[in-house]
Symmetry: C5
Subunit: 287 residues, 5 copies
């Protein structure tokens, strides 16, 4: 068993500044992304709108969670000459990440399915399984990494971490299935490339989370904690904002293609990306 | 009489973390649901819009209430070595549940009636009775469970609890009537199944509330309090978000059917669910 | 002269809980009503929209005011064994009611006129007089009930209270005039009944306010204060939400009748109430 | 030099209550006005929309500023028996007025120009000059009245006050020019009267500000401070809400006249004021 | 090495007031600009909408950041007779500027590209490079100016400052390229002039930031800190609001020209600027 919880460290002035920076920048970036999601929602047809809404919810929930992280990191470490030592609030400069993920990771899965080529009852099934696996992944992670002895009980850490990892594997399998489906169903769509990129991005960046989780299994220092906070802030920016922007692009391209194909998705008006009409002049003729 | 109010307990570090987790996750999930309700409202015709609005109000009010729960749970327990002992604020890590329910339970009844097959004067009557029973159920519960001797007066607990229970029975009877009505009036509607599911869900999950209320009649320990907080957070997620999502689906399906039947509900544009048009190509022809 | 301001009392645990409950429930109900007003505004034509907007402002302002009431009641009484004694903040668990009323009572008058049968220059005159009387009623009440010696100066209490009462009489006279106008002009309208009900409701429930004001003229106890807080919270719910819902119904019915009569109020789409089209199939033909 | 800054006074209980009342009521009234501006914006054509937007910004900025005023007045005076003495925060129960005015006074000028008969390059010139004069008026006032020795340096007070006054004269000259323009260009418009009234109102009510500024040049007492706070709160209500409502009416009337004259301002739907169609049945025929 | 971090100074009463003023005014101005951006967004076609959205995000993020600056400046300096001395919170009256810039400077680049004549894949490339350079410029600035020894390590200050400066040069080169592109592609557009002005403004005002950064390389006094805070507040107002208003005008003019040229950008309704139709009567004929 470790002597210290991950957040029970004494930070140097520089480490304190860097963590504050990482948390605040991620929070502000999420605020900006929430605004962007809300103001572009109408550019996506109601068919793919659930993806845009899920992405908005992700941004709002994560923003709220980063507000708590920032406030509690501010209150949780008190200055003594040139050091910052952990107070009882320090616990809440870390745990809110799990509060956030419990809601946002299932929503990321919803976001992905909503622009995939899986529809109808099959989509409902994928969604149910995906939400369950995602919630299970985070809840078990929280039990081992925070709830039991503040993550210092190594046996609990590894056992619950392993269960969490199994859920992650299940999600990865689902992602691969969705990728194969998309390759078949969207073979001629311009949306295939960003869709593939979105899934790949998720698969790669999600490795950051178990890596940081494993930090707790070794000697915890101020450096470990600083690295963990910065790494997860960056991972959250990529997995929520970068991924969300890709999904948004997929949804816009598919909206344009539906309009061009004459599928009534209730969307009126042309689709513009990067200052150009999407999919050329043959689409949007009805508007 | 018990010696302690339910919230006057000393929590272990793990219990403290688990309660914080349950409260925060429920709060964030309600925030996400409020965003979803607001951004999908226009997909439901004005005929069933009151259901969507009531569901939005439920999400907003419960979110506000969970903010208070989280803040007061944070302030209400102070760390002493590895224990968290209740301060005078602890009362407000529990009572806001009743503040929330007094407003949201009547709104859940409104939500249900608005998508049911009961209309006109009869709907107004059902709504008046339902709101009264719901408000009565919570107010009497608050009197016995919190106001009188902080819920430690067993006689008051059981007497007011019994009155509260009678209101609950009245609501259950009303739900069954609505179910029978729906079976007759919506027999050929695709909305019948999710409507039945929504009522069943409410009937089942609501049992959690009197069960937790009864906890106060027995020896209160930190474990009791932890179980109560987690159980009610989960019950709130299911009864507000899960139920609300089902009602939302009922409203969308009925909107699509109205459009297909040529009933003017002022709705334009097609209805899409799970990436597919609702009720096939015969509907939405006017859009 | 009384020894104590109304809020300088020592509350039992139960009284403290009941007041907290009344304040919080009124606040949450007003939040829900604000959401409902904002999401239904487009269902009312621009002709009667000022009523919907005034009602929304009432809900928002009263909600803000109840936030202050709750926060200051929370901070204004400190626990000592099983009692809660008033601190210097206690003043602000009462005075914000007057802040709120100074803005909302004039708005309630605006709300009423906007759906009445009084239009044009006459409406402007009624509005000017009504706003003046309403503002005068509250300002004078504040002077006698709070500002002078914290409401403990009985001479000031009764003199300013009497002036306030005269303004109230003036408003009641105006309400009766509006009622008579409506009976003549809206004799065949389905909106007459809810309009009459709305005025009657206001006339009856407003008696609660001078009654509570008069409490201060007698011996003030913890019981008086508790009764006053609960009574005014209930009165606010009825006078703001109940009244507002009735005005909303009047506005919807009149909108539907305008559409049916071919009056161009810029409203498109049918009007639905309780799951039924308002005023039968003859209206809304243009949509 | 005065001994005391304006806000370094000891208030009686009544004075404390009256200032709190004035600040809170102005804040709540501004909140209500912000809601009204946002919900009526679409009733004004894009041609005059900048006026509605500027008015909304005024309401939002002033509301934020009054929140600070209320919070800092609450924190800035501490109760000792029946007196309230200034703490170090008291400075912020006064200075935020200047923060607010620096942004809102230029916006009031923008609001006025946007509904005036001055257009194109000339409007841009008027706006640039007006914004400069308005900003100059407040910045110099802040330097003399707050920044230098907390407004107690009489030489600085009068010199900077005089410069501020010169800017005010410049603005008044501009207002008179706009009035003359309007009399010529809008001679037959129903909007002329409220436009003239709006300018007159501004010219009259603005005298309150230098008057209160001059208070600081004489003996400062608790009475002076109370009078200043109440007077400026009332002046803010009139200059922001009363003026804004008049500008709003001008914009609506001009919108209706544009529609009637066949000028394409992208506005659809009729304009209703006081329950009547604006400018008679001949307008709005296109809708 | 300096003895003091930039923010570890003792301020006179006047300096304290002036900094408070600068921070609060910038914050309120950004709030007003956010409202203006949100309420005018629909006046810009979806083609140039990304510019309006980026500008809105800039305003919201900077507003949030100024809230923190104001709160932490308020809490970070404590009054002692007529001086204000830095407390441990003082760090956060400066560092949030970097939090803000990390998000907003990349967004300013996005804003500029979105109304430029660069489109399609080239726009995507410019955006990727521009965002990278902008983020790099701020992150390296934060490392040298805050994170390492609180900006008192001169070697680190100059080295990281130099890297930051290189990124800035890269951005300036990009701006010049965009200018040349615009001169060729938009030669006959009325949008060219404000576009050129916007780029020029950015190039000029951005010099304020490295200048203030260099302050830290010399003796730091209360005067240095006050100058730095005021200068950066003014620079932020110009670079965010002034620049944003120019971009907004470019977007409106280009929208009007697209409509006139018959390019379908989904925009309906005329474009009005300064009370006049944009680009004369030949445009907007379709509306």
């Amino acid at each position: 068993m470790n002597n210290n919880a991950l957040w029970n460290v004494t930070l140097s002035s520089g480490q304190h500044a860097v963590i504050f920076y990482a948390l605040a920048v991620a929070g502000l970036a999420l605020a900006a992304f929430a605004v962007r999601q809300l103001t572009t929602m109408h550019e996506i047809s109601v068919r793919y709108r659930p993806a845009a809404i899920a992405g908005t919810c992700v941004a709002v929930v994560a923003f709220l969670s980063y507000i708590v992280l920032v406030l509690k990191f501010d209150a949780g470490y008190t200055q003594t000459v040139d050091r910052w030592t952990a107070a009882s609030n320090a616990f809440l400069s870390w745990a809110p990440r799990y509060f956030d993920w419990t809601v946002t990771v299932p929503l990321l899965v919803v976001e992905l399915i909503a622009v995939s080529s899986i529809v109808g009852a099959q989509a409902a099934k994928y969604r149910a399984i995906g939400i369950s696996l995602a919630a299970g992944m985070i809840i078990t992670g929280f039990i081992g990494g925070v709830a039991i002895d503040e993550g210092t009980n190594l046996a609990a850490l590894w056992i619950w971490g392993a269960i969490s990892g199994l859920c992650m594997v299940g999600l990865y399998v689902m992602f691969v299935f969705m990728l194969l489906h998309a390759r078949r169903d969207l073979a001629r769509s311009s949306a295939l490339q960003p869709f593939q990129f979105a899934i790949t991005l998720l698969i790669v960046i999600w490795f950051a989370y178990p890596a940081v989780f494993a930090f707790q299994g070794f000697d915890v220092t101020a450096g470990t904690y600083t690295t963990a906070q910065v790494l997860l802030s960056v991972a959250d920016i990529i997995a929520k904002i970068g991924f969300g922007a890709l999904i948004h692009k997929v949804a816009k391209l598919r909206t344009a293609e539906d309009v061009a194909a004459g599928i009534d998705t209730g969307h009126d008006g042309p689709v513009w990306i990067n200052g150009q009409r999407a999919t050329g002049p043959q689409n949007g003729r009805r508007s």
